[in-house]
Symmetry: C2
Subunit: 429 residues, 2 copies
């Protein structure tokens, strides 16, 4: 963990180092991924079976080895502990409700020259959600990816998930039941992304692929981008907490650790206007980390990427926050609105002292798939828009055409496109 | 050109071939591009100067060789022929007006448990627009890329354009003046995309890069995606015209040729319910192509990729149109609304007989940067949204936290994330 003082002479340099630290895997996997994708394209299911045997130790003999039947998901849901089932149901209902209100509306208007203009939004036909196996197999993540697709009106919703040595995660199956996934295929890695993008004999292709994954999955998504739509490339999670000294240091320490426990590459940063408070939070992080089952990961992330920055005034935190463009920003201060008004770049903001980031991970409603690694400068969290597209339209009668047609002809001719000009000229006669 | 009859026994197979025809360059440029990008990253301006000398034959000696001064754009605008200047001004005003109305609004509401939820949209800080040199140096394209960025509220708007052997296009400079571009750098290709994404000594990095380009530019955009935001990967232009026999065959032929003249890889398809009309349009394409200055390109595109499909009823055109998911769709029929209601996938739709696609290219207002190559299945035209991002927010008091906190704790524990649970539990005490 780095302790930085914004008034120090070398602060700018040290802060730059925090902003530009490379926390993402720089594995050069692009050739391996290109090879896997071309194998899937050429040989479909055969290549998928070979790669799944080799990489996941899972062999396809029966249909059920390929695809999880719906009754298994339903049974997993029914067999869940009651409290957990209610929690998943509550999460799903709140996610659904937030995203329902997010559906974009059409536009349709006639302008001053009598030209009718507008747009219409429609869902994609089919979407695929990647669900990692192993450590990051989170049911909440399946809900956050699948529910917006369903709300958008996607007809065919497919999940792919690796089942190493055949092992399935019952929580993920239960979440698939709640989200109403239509097909779950037991494949993972770049090969699963290839199957979704290009289709195989068994798996029909989809139009959009979302969901988290390792470096191979991320690179495969990048390589199939353009054949299908994808969500943002995701990196390790991060949190920025801006807090004054009226907070309980234990609460803030827990918030910092809640990101740190995700992955050794996660980043947790506190900016505060009190050096005393900074020291208390630092102590609390040590105390709590020692007691956590995930302490080793949290400790590694905090030691390598954590930072506590003291500033003279909380207003000074804002330019730093805008540079960091963090995935999650907590404003644990008396007047969070005043700081929020000046914050330009953040994935999601938690206003006040009573909303730890973890509430947003599960049950608040807004999507927890958010831009990481400074990408909040240009990217947004996952939404129904990722599963929809906009078609613009134009309608004109002879008067509207007469009003703008000559200008279009002049431009077409200047650009050396005479057939463009001719298509208008013929109609103006 | 292929003439297909939807009632023929081999139609499905032949139509599949039209849908799946590869019209995009399959040049394997990814390694060349990766090399260029890494050179820009490592050596900045020095690499940019070397590559620009080598690839564009343009040498940087003075500052003006690097960057076009604003007065040159203003002068290019003033020296334009009056009719053309008015046409560009009209186009810009209409594009601005359409995109102004496209700006998304915030959401801010308190739900049934007293939790405040919502989102806010903010512009990116800086955007870069790629403007091709040579044949595709279209001022209209500069307006269509730059104006939505300006409307979104982007503070710094940068254009890059190659000036082979030092030659600049005055129409593009005039358009840059109208659009209010802040910086124009005389660089192109993958090296210009690298400079925009990573920054060099002279060129500060941007957050989003849009604009058309060749295979190198497209691949460079794909490779920097994630470091910056990009618009959709663009391929050759295409048009689908659905027309009955009440149209003038000359008008429809001109519309088909207006896409064909862009590039030998462009695609123009007519679907009609009249074999007679189909034959008349075919004749008219031949007659008009012979008279066009762009006839050679148009002819090549039409011969290689053009198609006329006859269907028993115009309703039968809709499933075909949805398969094609074309960039531009003209509905030249009595009741275009009825067909439009059933059309699921299209970039932009032109309703009725009086709006040739070329009107949309220049002066209608909606963006002419649209998804090509069946990408309207999942992608939208360029809009102000491409230059903005959404930040979600959550605010809760003790009651709202008490209502959902226990469910979040249950989920966090089930996912093996105890610090997440702890951050909520501490606040519930």
């Amino acid at each position: 963990m780095q302790m930085l003082d914004a008034s120090a002479a070398d602060f700018a340099e040290n802060f730059d180092r925090v902003v530009n630290a490379r926390r993402e895997s720089a594995d050069n996997v692009s050739r391996d991924v290109a090879d896997i994708l071309s194998r899937i394209r050429a040989r479909g299911d055969e290549a998928l079976a070979d790669l799944t045997m080799k990489l996941d130790g899972h062999h396809f003999s029966s249909d059920e080895d390929w695809r999880v039947p719906a009754w298994r998901c339903e049974r997993a849901y029914e067999e869940l502990d009651g409290e957990l089932r209610d929690a998943l149901d509550l999460a799903a209902a709140r996610i659904r409700s937030y995203h329902e209100a997010q559906k974009p509306g059409p536009r349709d208007y006639t302008d001053d020259i009598g030209m009718r203009l507008g747009h219409r939004w429609t869902p994609v036909d089919a979407a695929g959600v990647y669900v990692p196996g192993g450590r990051a197999a989170y049911p909440s993540s399946l809900l956050m990816n699948a529910i917006p697709a369903r709300v958008a009106g996607v007809e065919r919703l497919v999940a792919v998930t690796p089942t190493p040595k055949g092992e399935m995660n019952p929580l993920v199956l239960a979440a698939a039941h709640i989200a109403g996934i239509d097909e779950i295929w037991r494949v993972g890695g770049a090969q699963a992304i290839g199957a979704l993008a290009y289709g195989t004999q068994r798996i029909a292709p989809v139009d959009v692929i979302t969901g988290p994954g390792n470096a191979w999955v991320a690179e495969a998504k990048r390589q199939v981008f353009g054949t299908v739509g994808i969500d943002m490339i995701a990196g390790p999670s991060e949190i920025l907490v801006i807090a004054d000294d009226k907070n309980d240091p234990a609460w803030i320490a827990a918030d910092l650790l809640s990101q740190a426990e995700h992955d050794p590459s996660s980043q947790s940063i506190l900016i505060t206007d009190s050096a005393d408070f900074a020291a208390q939070v630092e102590d609390q992080v040590d105390v709590q980390a020692a007691m956590l089952a995930t302490g080793k990961t949290a400790r590694a992330a905090w030691d390598a990427h954590g930072a506590i920055i003291t500033v003279a005034s909380l207003d000074d935190a804002i330019p730093l926050a805008n540079r960091l463009a963090a995935e999650h920003v907590e404003l644990a201060v008396d007047d969070p609105e005043a700081l929020f008004a000046k914050l330009r770049h953040a994935g999601s903001v938690f206003l006040g002292r009573m909303v730890p980031e973890a509430v947003g991970d599960y049950v608040a409603g807004p999507n927890h798939v958010l831009p990481t690694g400074r990408r909040a400068r240009f990217a947004s969290g996952l939404s129904v828009l990722d599963f929809m597209k906009r078609t613009s339209f134009i309608e004109a009668g002879p008067d509207a055409l007469a009003a703008v047609g000559p200008a279009a002809i002049a431009l077409a001719e200047a650009e050396g496109l005479p057939a463009h000009a001719q298509s208008i000229r013929l109609r103006l006669k």
